[in-house]
């Protein structure tokens, strides 16, 4: 693993840098802890249900400090993994160390008590103390500090998460997003050695989310502790993640930099998670070692089958594969393009046109149906409408060969 590439120039997302009202409030900056913290994780854990089904987690990974995104379908085992680190779930077997401090080791018989693990954990269901005010919830984890310092820290974090006006309220009187911010504040204020965030921003509106992401990035820069961050939002992955860990059914199926893992997924499930709009069954029909490409037939067997060129891979001729192509990587032209470096130019008919969030999703039938993402401006200037004859241009490297997973439906 390399140190964070993205976090090297982390700039605020939105809103904050604008000229709007208040100045950005930085997260509390602790006395610089320069040592390099890291998380070394290995655990096996099984659940067996009343109904006899079993879920088993079997995960091994090591990450340096910084934000690691946990990505995976619902039920993949993300929360269970966090539970193992926090000491709330006990693996049958495993070894978990944070910054060379062993928290759990089934062989050595080490199982550090939950309360001594110095873990910051924002639960998926928050678990705010219903009988304590916002302020007292946040204060809960702060001990052994003199009163002034404690007040200072609490004041800072309440400001930072914009919940200072709610400080006297009970959690029952807060909205969902307000509660989420309190939970975040509560876990950060203790300055933990490892931070576990289970979808901490899911109930927040974009501007609030952006501001808190800024704060988290700043926090991460200042503290350099391992942070595991569960999210289903691709946006958050790219905005925050130094690296991604993709889980499926209790296993790590991919890990690395966000753009490597999600930008060029090698498993179908990852591709689905990453939002590859175009996924095709295909068969390798020719291998061109000299060109560094292979020819691949989409929808083999069907009369409408088409061939495209894909990057060379260690794979047998006539193997069944799957091809994933991001809708944003496909170029569309209304006149036949010439003199292009791209090898894949497909002719087709525009079938539907759908506006989405400042983008237009266009479907083009080239034998198989492709989804193509365009800007509204491009759409207008090309005067696209259903029925148009169009050409699609696919760069070879935009065609991702995916290992089919055992079962396409991942849950």
């Amino acid at each position: 693993m390399e140190p964070a590439r993205l976090a090297a120039h982390p700039v605020g997302l939105t809103g904050r840098e604008t000229a709007s009202g208040g100045t950005p409030k930085p997260m509390p900056q602790p006395d610089n802890t320069e040592e390099r913290a890291a998380l070394d994780f290995f655990a096996r854990k099984r659940y067996v249900n009343r109904t006899g089904e079993a879920f088993s987690l079997d995960i091994r990974f090591a990450v340096p400090s910084g934000i690691t995104i946990l990505f995976g379908a619902s039920g993949a085992g993300k929360t269970t993994l966090l539970g193992c680190i926090a000491g709330l779930a006990k693996p049958e077997e495993g070894r978990i160390a944070v910054d060379s401090r062993v928290l759990f080791d089934s062989v050595a018989g080490i199982d550090v008590d939950v309360s001594r693990r110095s873990v910051g954990y924002v639960f998926q269901d928050l678990a705010l103390f219903p009988h304590l005010s916002v302020e007292r919830n946040v204060r809960y984890g702060l001990r052994g500090l003199d009163e002034a310092e404690r007040e200072r820290r609490i004041g800072e974090v309440l400001e930072s998460f914009r919940i200072a006006p709610l400080r006297k309220r009970l959690p029952g009187d807060l909205s969902g997003g307000e509660r989420q911010r309190v939970a975040l504040a509560r876990s950060l204020v203790t300055r933990p050695a490892v931070l576990l965030l289970d979808e901490p921003l899911s109930a927040l509106d974009p501007p609030t989310k952006a501001r808190i992401l800024d704060d988290l990035r700043a926090w991460n820069r200042a503290r350099r502790i391992p942070i595991l961050y569960v999210t289903h939002s691709r946006e958050e992955v790219f905005a925050l993640g130094d690296r991604v860990l993709v889980l499926e059914r209790g296993r790590v199926i991919a890990q690395g930099l966000p753009q490597d893992v999600l930008g060029a997924p090698r498993q179908e499930t990852v591709a689905q998670l990453a939002g590859f709009e175009n996924l095709f069954d295909a068969r390798i029909t020719a291998v061109h070692d000299d060109l560094g490409t292979m020819t691949c037939r989409l929808a083999p067997g069907s009369p409408a089958a088409i061939d495209i060129e894909v990057p060379l891979a260690r794979i047998e001729r006539s193997s069944a594969v799957r091809i994933g192509i991001s809708a944003g990587d496909i170029l569309l032209a209304t006149e036949e393009p010439r003199g292009l470096s791209a090898r894949n130019v497909l002719r087709g008919t525009l079938t539907t046109l759908e506006e989405r969030d400042f983008k237009v999703l266009v479907r083009v039938d080239c034998g198989v149906s492709f989804a193509v993402l365009l800007t509204p401006g491009a759409c207008r200037s090309l005067e696209l409408a259903p029925g148009c004859k169009v050409w699609l241009v696919l760069k070879t490297h935009s065609c991702h060969l995916l290992r089919p997973t055992d079962d396409a439906a991942s849950f």
């Binding site: 926090a86 000491g87 709330l88 008590d113 939950v114 309360s115 001594r116 693990r117 110095s118 873990v119 910051g120 954990y121 639960f123 269901d125 678990a127 705010l128 103390f129 219903p130 009988h131 809960y140 984890g141 001990r143 009970l170 029952g172 009187d173 509560r186 876990s187 203790t190």
Partner: protein, 224 residues
Amino acid sequence: MNWQALALTLRLSLITAGSLLVIGLPLAYWVAFSRRRWKFLLQTATSMPLVMPPTVLGFYILIAFGSSSPLGRLYQRWTGHTLAFTFTGLVVGSILYSLPFAVQPLVNAFVSIDPRLIDASRVLGASRLRTFFRVILPLSASGIATTIALTFAHTFGEFGVVLMVGGDIPGVTRTISIDVFDLVEAGRYGQANITSLVLLAVSFTVLALVYWWNRRAWPRTPWA
């Protein structure tokens, strides 16, 4: 109206209720959170004092206090007198007698706490003890109120055990309930009625205060 007996009873009930809270909390904690498969047996055992007729229970307590029991002899050697017929003995007897009410409501309160809150507390670095005092206890307010109310009331109206263990000594072990009983036995119904009313009034006030306090605990309904 026997005010001395009333004062004595109040004192006895308050001490018993307080002691039972102190005893009941760890017991209930264990029953609620232990992973032992047989813990329900302990739970059952704590209910057993209820099953004995009070005078019979009192009789067995008396035997345990007496010179034929090792415990009783030990105490006698240590203090020079028997536990029976003393206020302390009365407290011990009442505690045993009301034990079931101390444990069960607390167990219920404990098990109905969202375990995620306990997890949250522990993750935030709180020891089990701190978690107990800062999270479990405050969230068990209604269980605690019930325990206090029931043990207080039960001791206030206690009679069989008190009679047996206390020996009805004025100012030391004669409680207001014995007084009422004596009055009824002696056929002094008028006086018995008055005493009963006072007894009811006093305990009603105490219990009403307890329940009223509990009513003001943090609310559970988010909808106004």
